[in-house]
Structure formats: C-alpha cells, structure tokens
C-alpha cells in the first residue's frame, strides 16, 4: 500500500514535467503581444517594450525561460503576472467560487445521477427507465453553452427562480450554474449506474442472496448495489478533479469570477504567467484526485487492493 502510493507519487513527476512543458510552450508560441494596449491608444515606446521584455525575461530563449520558471516553481513561487499580482493570489481569490461550483455539481451527480440510475436499473424496461435513458441522452447531446444559455433564459429571466448571473459567487447564485455544469456528469453517472446495476442484478451472487432468503430490498440494496456503485464512485471522483480545473464556458455565461474565467482572461490578455501557473495548479490537483480515487477503489473493492 505505502509502496504503491510512493510509486504513484513518483510517477507524477514525469507527468508534471510533461504537462508544464507543453503548456509553457503553448503560451510561449501564442501569437500576440503582451505589451499591446498597455500604453493607451498609442503603441508603447520601443524603450518600454525592451524594458518589459527583459524584465519578464521574454527576450530569453524558450528553454532558458522554462528553466527559470521551473526553478522558481520548486521554491513554491508561481510567479507574478504583468499586473503585479502574484498568481497564487489570483488563484486564491477565485478558488472558493470554483470549489462551490464543483461541490454543487458533485452533489447533483451523487443525488440525481446515482438516484436516477438506480431507479432506471431496478425498473428496467419500464417508463422510468426510458425517461432516464432519453433525458440523459438529450443532456449529453446538447453542448453546455446551449444548455447554460437556455437555463439562464428560462429559469433566470423568464421564471425568475434563480439569479441571472452569479458575480458575487454566493451559494444561492451558484446553484443554477452548478447544476448546468454538473448536468453532463449527472447524465453519465446515471447511465453508468443503470448499466452496472442491470448487469449486477443478474449476477450469481445476487441469486445466492435470494437463495439465502433475503428480501429484494437487501439483495438489491446491499449485494447488487454495493458492486454496481464502484464504477460510478470512481467516475464521480475523477469528475471532481476535472471540475476543480474551472469551467470556462459556464463561468462566462453566468459571469462567475472563478478559475475558468481567470484562465480565459489570461489567454485573451496573453498573460502567460497566470495561464501557466493556473494550469500547473490544476494539473497537480487532478493528479492528486486521481490518486485518491484509485486508493478509494482499492478500499471499496478488495480484489483491487494494493498489497
């Protein structure tokens, strides 16, 4: 177990290096000039551009820039962007909002996704099963920017059930965007749960459960479900890692100041420091989440325990 964790942690190093190298190169290769628009309507004077480029090290070759960046990163310094703010500060003020969004989406995945999947699975072939199958297909098929705008229009503007935007990032404001963000994952979780439950209901050990004299509630609710939920739990865990990376589209639609918006802004303003810093943090979070999910899986399924 301990050995396994150490091995996994060591495997994170090349992943981390690869991910940072790629994102650093992409931001380096991005066309455009970070000094554009810094001097009002006039182009910046050549002396300023030269100072700017040497101050931020932009005049150095790519690999040197990468080396300097990684050197700072090892001391925990994510850098300071062109506006004089540390990237850590930029992330710190936005992460609570992104975290709230992710939590709302995860709760929806667990309650709605698993709930609908179980209902559809035990009522296979009935109305509720068809309803779940069709509605999840619709959700999966509709792009999130359509779904988000539609939800904003219907529930925010027409019905006035929810606030139209979520600039302050309170729980109430984030509920609708969180549900929109989670809807795709909810649909996948519902389908995954249904499929696995249907399969497990036919399993030999469920027949054994009945042969042992169990009522259906226990045979299904304990024996079949325990096994059926394993893939769903893994999927939900992995989706939490992905959600913590911010949601560019949803955050844009509902005007949310989260990590997704930060990344979007850093790209459009050619703010490479912020972009690379944010992605580095997201990569680390995602890798840690994946490791936690794998460890959880071993805990839930004794056959996969890492002895």
């Amino acid at each position: 177990m301990g050995k396994y964790v150490v091995r996994r942690l060591l495997m994170m190093i090349p992943t981390f290096l690869g991910a940072t190298l790629i994102i650093f190169y992409l931001s380096f290769a991005l066309p455009g000039d970070p000094t554009a628009g810094r001097c009002g309507e006039r182009p910046c004077p050549a002396s300023y551009v030269e100072w700017f480029r040497s101050h931020y090290g932009l005049d150095k070759p790519f690999l040197v820039q990468y080396g300097i960046y990684m050197g700072r990163l090892l001391t925990g310094d994510l850098g300071t962007n062109y506006y004089g703010n540390t990237v850590i500060h930029e992330l710190a003020i936005r992460y609570p909002t992104t975290l709230k969004l992710a939590v709302i989406a995860i709760v929806a995945e667990i309650l709605i996704g698993i709930g609908a999947g179980i209902l559809a699975g035990i009522r296979r072939g009935r109305f509720i099963d068809s309803l779940v199958t069709i509605s999840t297909l619709v959700v999966i098929a509709i792009p999130v920017f359509v779904l988000g705008s539609l939800a904003q229009m219907v529930f925010g503007i027409k019905l006035k059930w929810f606030p139209v935007t979520a600039g302050d990032g309170t729980w109430g404001q984030l509920l609708l965007p969180g549900l929109v963000l989670g809807s795709l994952y909810v649909a996948y979780v519902a389908r995954l749960t249904r499929t696995n439950l249907v399969e497990n209901l036919r399993a030999d050990y469920v027949r054994t459960a009945y042969a042992k004299g169990m009522q259906p509630a226990r045979a299904i609710g304990l024996h079949a479900l325990r096994n059926s939920l394993l893939p769903s739990i893994t999927y939900i865990g992995a989706s939490f890692g992905a959600l913590l990376g911010g949601a560019i589209v949803t955050e844009r639609i509902f005007n949310i100041n989260g990590v997704g918006s930060l990344i979007y802004r850093s790209i459009s303003q050619r703010d490479g420091t912020t972009l690379v810093g944010a992605v580095v943090v997201i990569v680390v979070i995602y890798m840690v989440m994946t490791l936690l999910v794998d460890l959880l899986y071993g805990l839930l399924d004794p056959r996969l325990r890492h002895e």
């Binding site: 027949r207 169990m214 004794p302």
Partner: protein, 352 residues
C-alpha cells in the same frame, strides 16, 4: 429436529414435486423448459437429477427454491409440496423465510456465487443475522464454528478473508457452510463439483455426504457426471428436454437401464474392459431446441428404437415398471424385449 410434531398435517414425502411446468418467455418465442416433472424426496435421502446441459436440471432446482429469474421464467403449473404445503402458493415473503432454515442451495461456481466485496465469514454470518436477528458477535461465532465444521484451516483468521483469496475447493466449502448454517431439511446442490478438479471433487462430495448424515438432510444432487452419482445417490432421476425419462434406485439403474436415453448415457461411459483403440459410443445428434420441440417423445430423433408411435402425438408419461424395486420410465417401448435385450448389452452383459 428430525421428528415432526403431531399437530402438523400428515404428508407423504418431505418434498413432493408434482407435474411442474416452467417456461421462458423470450423474444424468439416460448421455451418450454420444464414439462410436467414429478418426483419426491424423503428425509435423509439423496436424489440425483442427471441430465445434459439445457435439460432443465438447474431450472427445476431454481423453481423449487423460488429463485427463478422472472421474467423471463414462469412457473405455469404444478405443485411443490414441502412437508405437504404447496410452496408455489405462498407469499414471496413467506417463501423467502423458508430459504435457509427449510431448504437451501449451493451452486456450481462458488467464486461467482459469493459476493466479491464482502468477507466470507460475514457472508456466512449474514444467514444468522437475517433469519435469526442475531447480533454481530454471536453471528460471527456461529460462522467461525461452521467454517471449522467444513474444515477450513485457520477458520478464525480467515473469517475476514475475501472469496478471491480462497482456492476453488475452499470456496465451495464456504458455500456449503452458508447453506447448512440454519440446519435445513433439504439441500439442493447444483453441480457442486463441476468447477473443481477431481481430487477436490471427491473431498467435497465426502463432506456433503457426511453433513447430510449429521444433519439428516434430504439432498438433491444435480449433475451431469455419472461417476459422481454412482457413489453418492440413493435414487436417480434422468432428465431430458424438461422431462423425466427414468427414475430408479441407483443400483437398479446402473445394472439395468430401461429407457433408451439412459441406455445411451451408460454406453457412453468409458470402461476399463473396452479394447484399446475402440471408439467410445456416443448418442448421435443434439438435444432438441426448446423453442421447437419435436412431436411425440422429445428423444425420438436420436433414439435407435423409435417407432412411428414415438414420433407423433403426446410424449409417453412416466409409468411404473415391473421390477423388484420401484422404478419408472417414460417410453412406449420400455417393456419391449428388443429394448430390454439391448439394455443388458449396454451395461456389459447380464450380471445377475
């Protein structure tokens, strides 16, 4: 526990299956899996149900247990009398309460029959928890006692082990411990040794036999293995295409098979006195498709004795045969001297 209190209604047999019919309603049509099967089982008796794959042995067992997958399986007729009471008329809840204390079952593949995510001891203890409302500690003590009884080495230490950590034979012992936990009247063993290698097979059969005597259980042994049957069973019921072809005490059946299907089965057993290089006889053809049953006797397309009567109308019923022991067969020609003579040749000459 083997004596029955006076106020219970009298009954002839411990288990009495009468004219059982099961069908599977599928998209391709209705498969008639069990077509009027009748047999009985007494206390301490071992009945072997012998048949090929798809002959309806396991479906019969599941119908008796009440764990038939439905849909697509439906019991469309008959009675299953346990101590005189028809289990098919009971409410599902009452039926479930009988599974374990009255009648229990073990399966062919213990690895898939045990739940992979719960410790084996917990799965045995579960019997006491659901049927006897026992607390965790007492149920655990009972489970360890049972694991010791079925001779699992280091039972106490292995209580918390998972099914995949055991060998095939040990897993089947766990299944057996679970099935006998509540001291049932009847144990149905559905191909209990098919998934095991030969030496382990013998150990498991010995264990079953031993436990049957200790607990006074009636044992229904479902198998396709003529060798397993010969050593253990008291009576044999030979099944084919959802019907019983022949029932007889084990000695009489082996010494003198009467139904052409049984004759064919015994002919196909390898013999020590056969000449080197001799081809093993086999029954030609395949069992009938249950969706398209032939007219008349279901065995007629493969039967070398078949006459016109066998190919039309309704199949013959099981009828009593004239013999020194009670035995029955379902064949129009069973008393025909031609068939009788073949039967003697089949088992290697008249040994009487």
């Amino acid at each position: 526990m083997t004596t029955i209190s006076e106020n219970q209604p009298p009954f002839e047999h411990l288990l009495d299956v009468r004219d059982l019919h099961v069908e599977f309603r599928m998209r391709a049509g209705v498969a008639k899996a069990i077509n009027g099967v009748s047999f009985h089982l007494d206390e301490r008796e071992t009945l072997a149900i012998l048949g090929e794959s798809g002959s309806g042995k396991s479906v019969t067992a599941q119908a008796i247990m009440g764990i038939l997958d439905s849909p697509p399986g439906y019991i469309t007729g008959g009675q299953v009398l346990f101590q005189g009471a028809d289990m098919l008329k009971m409410k599902p809840k009452a039926r479930a309460a009988m599974r374990g204390p009255k009648i229990s079952m073990i399966f062919q593949d213990a690895l898939s029959a045990l739940n992979p995510v719960f410790p084996v001891g917990w799965q045995i203890a579960e019997m006491f928890r659901i049927h006897r409302d026992m607390n965790r500690t007492d149920a655990m003590a009972q489970a360890i006692r049972l694991m010791e009884r079925v001779r699992i080495p280091g039972a106490k230490e292995r209580y918390k082990a998972y099914p995949h950590q055991f060998s095939g034979g040990m897993r089947q012992r766990i299944m057996i411990a679970m099935a006998i936990a509540l001291d049932p009247w009847i144990l149905i063993a559905d191909e209990p040794t098919t998934a095991l290698d030969v030496t382990v097979q013998a150990q498991i059969m010995d264990l079953l036999k031993e436990l049957q005597e200790e607990f006074g259980m009636g044992l229904i042994l479902i198998t396709h293995d003529l060798g397993v049957v010969a050593n253990v069973a008291d009576r044999i019921a030979v099944m084919y295409a959802g019907r019983l072809m022949e029932t007889a005490p084990v000695g009489a059946l082996y010494a003198n098979p009467r139904h052409p299907y049984t004759i064919g089965l015994l002919e196909s057993v390898p013999r020590l006195d056969s000449k080197l290089g001799e081809t093993l006889p086999a029954i030609g053809g395949l069992p009938p498709n249950l969706l398209r049953m032939p007219a008349g006797c279901p065995f007629n397309p493969r039967c070398r004795f078949a006459i016109d009567k066998c190919r039309e109308g309704v199949p013959p019923d099981l009828t009593d045969l004239a013999d020194s022991v009670p035995r029955r067969a379902a064949c129009w020609r069973v008393e025909d001297p031609a068939v009788t003579a073949e039967a003697r040749i089949a088992v290697g000459g008249d040994q009487s």
